[in-house]
């Protein structure tokens, strides 16, 4: 089994018009998806990231330049990540395609394999 990282990109503004009932339904779909993977032991650590976008750090001369990451108003923000276990990339892709994150317009998933050779 290899390990894959699903970086969940989103456009927070896309959620603006969503009704409470729709929000409830979307959350349930995420929960069901995670539960389904958990039952098959395919789900690894998964975390929400804060909306402040964090910091971008670069060495500049003797010091370090820190710039703010994208804020919640940004067009594209990594909201959090899931890690999953899958035998190969095709299977990982298949699992990622069932993630309800893709149901909201504007959202996309960056699928990366965690290098197993380490």
């Amino acid at each position: 089994m290899n390990q894959y990282l699903l970086l969940l990109h989103e456009t927070p503004a896309a959620y603006a018009g969503i009704t409470p009932a729709e929000m409830g339904a979307i959350i349930e779909r995420y929960a069901a998806w995670a539960r389904g993977l958990g039952e098959r032991d395919l789900l690894g650590p998964s975390q929400k990231l804060t909306d402040d976008g964090g910091l971008h750090l670069r060495r500049q001369g003797a010091g370090t330049l820190a710039t703010d990451g994208p804020f919640a108003e940004a067009k594209d923000l990594v909201g959090g990540f899931f890690t999953i276990h899958a035998p190969n990339r095709d299977e990982a892709r298949r699992i990622a395609e069932t993630c309800p994150h893709l149901d909201t317009a504007g959202n996309w998933i960056e699928l990366r394999e965690i290098d197993p050779s380490a």
Binding site: P12, I18, A21, M23, A25, K48, P100
Partner: protein, 423 residues
């Protein structure tokens, strides 16, 4: 899994009013808009956090805490005003999440009930009462609400804003009205819920989903009001009965292709017997009252339709009697038109035609198509084909509903085939 998805959707919608009412208990009704925003923010936070953390043990308590913090933050950020409300007085979140989330199952608590009375205040225009009740207690989004109420999001937002401002200006208190004021205020709420239901039931445009949800929200609130120990009353049961019995027929109103079916053609085995039973139960409770209200009459008429095994079994004589009682209480043209149609069914097309023609000139403009349709139906039954054609054509020209127009065009076509729609 889909059952679960439904559950959390229902929870978010049904807890919306309850959470909002709790927030307002702390902040006061004047901050309704801010409280709505805070709750929206909390739900959005849940949407973006729970996928990773899982759904908390007590989701409503979580939402309340986050919304309350957002409301306090907003208050601190905004201009400070003296309000006599302590924003930090903590509502007891332990009372949250105790309730089941099944549709229609939950009683309103006193905060929600106070909110219902506040938003259905007779000082607000009826259309605003309906919109604000759906928005605050029903947790409807602007988009779906605009679809259900046949308006634009911008117009709706404007209407809601004016209504909130009016409540704030009036300094309206968030409380269940005192006993002496209760009957009149309750009547206003019942009327608003009836309007809410009709928006969903009669508007033929808009998505089926949006319309059905309006109907179900009206039923939920009517049932909750009816069963409330203090604010409940027989006429509230009568309204709940009326709405349940009408809603029972929602599932039989269209054929397999989604085309509307008229009452005589509706497959009665597709009516929702659960809702019929619920309606009859409320009708039974409504009989406890000494006073006969318009809602009692409406409920009795709806029950006569819902309990007839076949259209031919309809007890028109009893329906005519109930319409007579209804018209005695409310002599306006709309119930009189319905009475005229029932007279035609009970006593023959000639009597029906005479009664319709009497009320036709009195109808409000948006009801013209119904009047002309009823007149055309009776004319067709009497074999007066040319006059019937003319009346159907008038109705088609005046109706704003595409579904209604299709029904009328079918009737007109049947007329041309010499196949008058006799029941």
């Amino acid at each position: 899994m889909s059952e679960d998805a439904h559950q959390l959707a229902v929870l978010f919608r049904e807890q919306h009013g309850r959470l909002l009412a709790l927030l307002l208990r702390e902040s006061g009704l004047a901050r309704l808009a801010a409280a709505e925003d805070a709750l929206q923010q909390a739900m959005l936070a849940a949407l973006r956090r729970w996928p990773f953390d899982g759904v908390p043990q007590r989701p409503a308590a979580w939402l309340f805490e986050v919304a309350r913090r957002a409301l306090v933050d907003e208050y601190r950020g905004g201009a400070r005003r003296e309000t006599g409300h302590d924003l930090h007085a903590l509502a007891d979140p332990h009372t949250l999440d105790a309730a089941p989330v099944e549709r229609f199952a939950r009683e309103l608590d006193d905060d929600e009930l106070a909110l219902l009375f506040a938003v259905c205040h007779p000082d607000l225009p009826p259309a605003s009462q309906v919109a604000l009740a759906l928005r605050t207690l029903g947790g409807f989004g602007l988009r779906e609400l605009a679809a259900g109420l046949l308006t634009t999001e911008a117009a709706l937002a404007q209407r809601l804003k004016r209504a909130r401002d009016a409540l704030a200006t009036r300094g309206a208190a968030l409380e269940v009205p005192a006993p002496e004021a209760l009957p009149a205020r309750r009547d206003a709420v019942l009327t608003a819920l009836y309007l809410m239901f009709n928006e969903g039931y009669q508007s033929a445009a808009g998505s089926d989903y949006a319309r059905r949800e309006l109907c179900f929200e009206a039923i939920r609130l009517a049932r909750a009001l009816a069963t409330h120990p203090v604010a409940g009353a027989p006429q509230a049961h009568a309204l709940a009965a009326t709405l349940c019995l009408h809603a029972a027929r929602l599932s039989g109103r269209t054929d397999a292709d989604g085309q509307p079916l008229l009452l005589p053609q509706q497959p009665r085995d597709r009516w929702d017997q659960g809702l019929v039973a619920m309606g009859l139960h409320h009708l039974d409770r409504a009989r406890a009252g000494a006073a006969l209200t318009r809602w009692h009459c409406e409920a009795a008429i709806a029950a006569a339709h819902a309990t007839a095994p076949r259209y031919a079994d309809t007890d028109w004589a009893s329906i005519v009697e109930w319409y007579a009682r209804l018209v005695a209480l409310d002599p306006s043209p709309v119930p009189r038109l319905a009475q005229a149609i029932a007279i035609g069914e009970a006593q023959g097309a000639a009597q029906g035609l005479a009664a319709v023609e009497e009320v036709l000139p009195l109808l409000p403009r948006e009801r013209y198509p119904f009047g002309h349709t009823a007149r055309a139906d009776f004319l067709a039954r009497l074999g007066r084909i040319d006059a019937a054609r003319e009346a159907y054509t008038l109705a088609i020209a005046q109706t704003r509903s595409p579904a209604e127009r299709r029904v009328l065009e079918r009737k007109l076509a049947a007329l041309e085939c010499g196949d008058a729609v006799r029941e």
